[in-house]
Symmetry: C2
């Protein structure tokens, strides 16, 4: 049964998409209610607050939407049907291309969405920090699974491999924002994964590139 009351005159989903683009490009704090209402189709303050509650509540919906769409480039991290190497590879390549694509703001909303924040908006910071931590955990789990699988050697190098991958991953936001091209970022990912292969257990059927590692 349809909901009672006067129907909304704007598309709530499209409004969230528009807000996502704005928050993604500018970050949480610099994005004003005026800008938001404007990009959502010049809706009134009353409509805004009735539909979303507050700026922070809208941002939380935006993050949720982002994670369900663009953020799905990270999904391979938690897909245990993939080999750990493939999971990492797909995640990094996918993220590199997504973050540097020109169809939307560059970089990662989770990394740069609230990187400059007043103390009063610490909860917003914390929301994104928790999500970044989830990524770290996912990357580390892949490496540990590879060690458990016998795909990677256990060694000091594989101990720090998650930190390297994570640091590089988070650095892509800065590079993409500063204009690095998708192909360039993608090639960097490919080469970085040499660090994985260096520590791969050598077998007849090992997943190693056919070309020389250094080429």
């Amino acid at each position: 049964m349809a909901r009672t009351g006067r129907p909304r005159e704007f598309d709530r989903d499209k409004a969230i998409d528009a807000a996502t683009a704005l928050f993604w490009a500018q970050g949480y704090e610099p994005t004003s209610l005026t800008q938001l209402k404007s990009c959502m189709g010049n809706i009134s303050p009353a409509s805004f607050y009735a539909a979303f509650g507050s700026k922070e509540a809208l941002f939380r919906e935006v993050v949720q939407r982002y994670l369900e769409t663009y953020g799905q480039v990270m999904a391979p991290l938690w897909d245990e049907s993939l080999s750990p190497r493939e999971a990492i590879e797909r995640t990094l390549h996918g993220s590199a291309r997504m973050q540097s694509a020109r169809a939307h703001p560059t970089g990662c909303l989770v990394v740069c969405g609230a990187s400059n924040c007043s103390p009063e908006n610490e909860p917003v910071q914390a929301l994104l920090a928790a999500e970044r931590q989830r990524t770290r955990t996912g990357i580390r789990a892949c490496v540990e699974r590879a060690i458990a699988n016998g795909e990677l050697n256990a060694s000091p190098a594989t101990d720090v491999l998650p930190d390297i991958l994570t640091t590089f991953f988070h650095g892509m936001t800065c590079e993409a924002r500063d204009g690095m091209r998708p192909d360039t970022l993608d090639a960097a990912v490919t080469s970085l994964l040499t660090l994985w292969d260096l520590n791969a257990v050598k077998r007849g059927t090992a997943k190693r590139p056919k070309k020389k590692l250094t080429d």
Copy 2:
């Protein structure tokens, strides 16, 4: 000869240091004049504007100060008395420890000082972006010098090496801000540099670690 007029009642240098800490921790836009005046010793608006001109002008002085102090961890990049490998190594290790030190805000001011910015403050963004570009150029120059010196092979892997190093370098800000410990970040740098050594030209006197690469 001493300057005419009533002398300033606060220490301009210390005020800039205090402002640096604040801008570093919060970023340009979220840092208010009220906070700045407060941390500078409760100076008045008149004193502030007489001494610094504007919030943006102060920020430019702060960036200058930062580059001359903390930012000097990057100096090896342009020190041609060092081998390229040493220059990169010292820069990354020094930056890793500086950015994660607890004596001051974590991360790099140049990376995160204006990462969330309204369109109206684009010049501030541009100031830091130009500095980041300078870093990229410096890193690339080191790699190219190493190739010219014969320390590194010219190859697709060395072509993308600057991009990998730069991306990792810029990612350290996120990791440091999220609490990564100095030793951890430092160890990641050490391991990342394996990518350099993989492409080092092999000679009897080559600068290669004595231990196995993967350890």
